[in-house]
């Protein structure tokens, strides 16, 4: 056997394995980078790392997590939009900050919703409106009346969508002043300390509900929360508004179908795994919820519309 024939055989074998792989299953050509749009150590980062670890274990691929903080994920998606759609770069972010920036200053953003192929959602953050347990009101209508009787009152928030919700409520003549805080914890602290009448809270408030220090006025999501099934949503209380911040995973647009399918199914397995679910439950007080590749896009389109309506009330 001469050298040439060896080469030919080797090449043929290589081609065969390659073709076989493409038929049976997509394999990444190198390590996959999962870019997280937030700084290391936060909940998005922790969940992202758990997903990466779970994917590695199940598929044998290398999945490397990289933090790209800035602008609530906008900095990361800006870079992701121009990455090669080879399935080796995916990004994880939160829907609300991205959508708000798309509506507010879409002309300045180098991407649109079409710049990405969507792979999965991980979970929906739960947002509540809370007040001190001894407050003289039990729902948002009561809060608005209390504000009217007291020359206005203050509500603490920590993200733009919450500000927009309150501004929409104020459209109907309510006098709620907005106190901006750095975190949900700080917002809850200002309620507990008696500095404000109510606050938005994303999980920090749950132990205070148990201890009887706080009560929940409303769910600010589209549906009620599992831990407080009797508290109505804002929609049920008469305001047709909500905010559903989803943690989701996307890749640059133009991903080949086999890669998209393989990544979506690997992510789906990882998100359904017990470790990831446990971390999500611990960090966000809610189960994982994966809408799937198509469902993620539908959710984003729907949310974009809601954000547009909310921002129309921004002034």
């Amino acid at each position: 056997m001469n050298g040439n024939r060896v080469l030919v055989v080797a090449a043929a074998m290589l081609a065969a394995t390659h073709a076989g792989a493409a038929l049976a299953d997509w394999e990444p050509a190198g390590p996959i980078t999962l870019e997280v749009g937030f700084a290391a150590g936060g909940e998005t980062d922790t969940i992202g790392r758990a997903i990466a670890a779970s994917m590695e274990e199940a598929t044998g691929w290398d999945v490397v997590v990289q933090n790209k903080p800035g602008g609530g994920g906008v900095a990361m998606f800006t870079g992701l939009a121009t990455a090669d759609p080879d399935g080796l770069t995916v990004g994880m972010g939160v829907s609300m900050p991205v959508l708000i920036n798309l509506v507010l200053r879409g002309d300045k953003l180098p991407f649109t919703l079409d710049s990405f192929d969507y792979l999965a959602t991980v979970a929906r953050a739960q947002l509540a409106i809370v007040a001190k347990a001894d407050a003289p009101f039990d729902d948002v209508k009561g809060l608005v009346e209390y504000a009217g009787a007291n020359d206005g009152t203050v509500i603490a928030f920590d993200a733009k969508p919450q500000e927009l919700l309150v501004k929409t409520i104020n459209q109907s003549g309510a006098d709620l002043r907005l106190l901006s805080t750095k975190s949900s914890a700080e917002a809850v602290q200002s309620v507990l300390g008696g500095h404000v009448a109510a606050a938005f809270a994303a999980g920090v408030h749950i132990p205070f509900l148990e201890s009887g220090d706080l009560k929940m006025l409303a769910s600010a999501n589209a549906t009620r929360h599992a831990y407080a099934p009797d508290t109505m949503t804002l929609i049920e209380q008469g305001w047709d508004i909500y905010t559903d911040p989803f943690f989701y995973i996307a890749a640059p647009a133009g991903l080949p179908d086999d890669a998209k399918g393989a990544l979506a199914s690997a992510l789906s397995d990882a998100i359904a795994s017990t470790t990831v679910n446990e971390i999500v439950v611990n960090a966000l007080k809610t189960e994982t919820s994966n809408l799937g590749a198509d469902g993620t896009r539908t959710m984003l389109d729907d949310s974009l519309e809601v954000v547009g309506v909310l921002l129309a009330n921004d002034n």
Binding site: A39, A40, G41, G42, E43, D45, T46, R49, A50, A53, Q66, N67, K68, P69, G70, G71, G72, V74, A75, M76, T78, R105, K108, D151, G152, V154, K160, E163, R177, L178, L179, S180, T181, K182, S183, A185, E186, V188, Q189, S190, L192, G193, G194, H195, V196, G203, V204, I206, P207, F208, E210, S211, D213, T275, E278, I279, V281, N282, A283
Partner: protein, 505 residues
Amino acid sequence: MVDLATILAGLGDAFSPINLLFVLGGVVLGQFVGALPGIGPVMAMAIAIPFTFVLDPLPAIAFLIGVNKGGLVGGAIPAVLINTPGTPDAAATALDGYPLSKRGKPLKATKMALYASVTGDTFSDIVLITVAAPLAVVALKTGPVEILALMIFAFSIIAGLVGDSIVKGVIATALGILCATIGLDPEHSTPRLYFGFFELYDGLPLAAVAIGMLVVAEILRRLAAMQGEMRPPLPRKDTQVAADRRVSLAEYWGCRFTMLRGAAIGTVLGALPGIGSTAAGFMSYAAAKQASKDPESFGKGNIHGIAATESANSAVVGANLIPLLTLGIPGSVSAALIISAFMIQGIQPGPLLFEQQGRLIYGLFGAMIMANLVNFWVGQLGLRFWVRVVRAPESIVFSTALLLCIVGVFMSTGGLFGVSIMLIAAAVGYVMHAFGYSVIIFIIAFFLGSRFELSLSQAMVILDGKPARLIEHPVALGLLLLALLSIYWLGVRAPRKQRQRNANG
């Protein structure tokens, strides 16, 4: 209330060999990354958190707190030895630590930093363990208006550091505040001064600016001063007599009021969210300088300057846990990381924590006290190591430091963008220093500027834009009055006395 059996069980957990091993590992790692310029304990904690998921809660949290405590000791070491603070907290440590080292007393300077750090840390841990619950109520009652007044009071004291030229001090402050306004505005999230870089939405990355200004600028200065020969960054003096290599009991005891004041400042600022250990270090330093009979000796190697800063910045760590454990409120970035570590273990810090997890909490308290002891012993060994490291030629020491800065900033800001910011900050810092503008003043204004803006806007909302409603906030009024007194005392009375002295002498 937690019963004695739970407390004993918790302490028993803390002293189990496996937990002690994690405490030791955390402290060693913390001191090491703290001492490396550019890679701080915050980053080490952030990277470690996802891995702590596989551990039991106690070793996981004890490990992270060990990293945090070790980092504050470690950060002082390069500040003292080569004038490049490993963490921004130690920026004020360099003010007196480095001159003392240059005078041939690096061991005395680093040891004073270590002793003061462990003293301040232990003080605030004891406060946490004994009176966390009442202090938490105080923290809760401290609303935005009170925080704003407290910050104004702190500024009135820190202003004493402004230096000889008030004009240059004001310019440095204005520049710091201007840089702090970059990014989303705190009220309506409108991006400001971002020039199309979405990376700047959250503001200039603190780590990149601090490392650029404090560390890389110093490296550039050393580079400019190099003359081609091989010499260590610190003049080697083998004639160091024994008294210059240690801190005597008399010297330590002489600093007791300075350290107590520092520990108290650190504990108060640590128990309240948002102000942080860097500000505590500077405030304590400025207060020590003003309380001193010999303020002229500050900045020239006065051990009180080291003791003041280190006792205050380390006291913040223990005090941060007061609002964290009792209310679930993080007082700083590292505290926020500890909360996420609790959360991924399925434990929500807050009002029910002591009831539901009493054993874990007392285990944690035991681990914290152990971490202080370990910090002391590891520090004793470690600082000898670092003093030796800086005997290497400065070309090696500083090029390694520069590399570490780049790697550290790359990792913490997620790319080369942060590195560019670091290099720009270094150039600005270099120029500022060359023209006699205080980089320290810039850093303080930059670090506290955005929090101050937020507090101001919060206070305006609470007061409904009516200053007269301050009447409803007597504590804030008291603090503002103190600020006025301090301005009179330091800005009017002290200079007048100084002039009288000069006239007489």
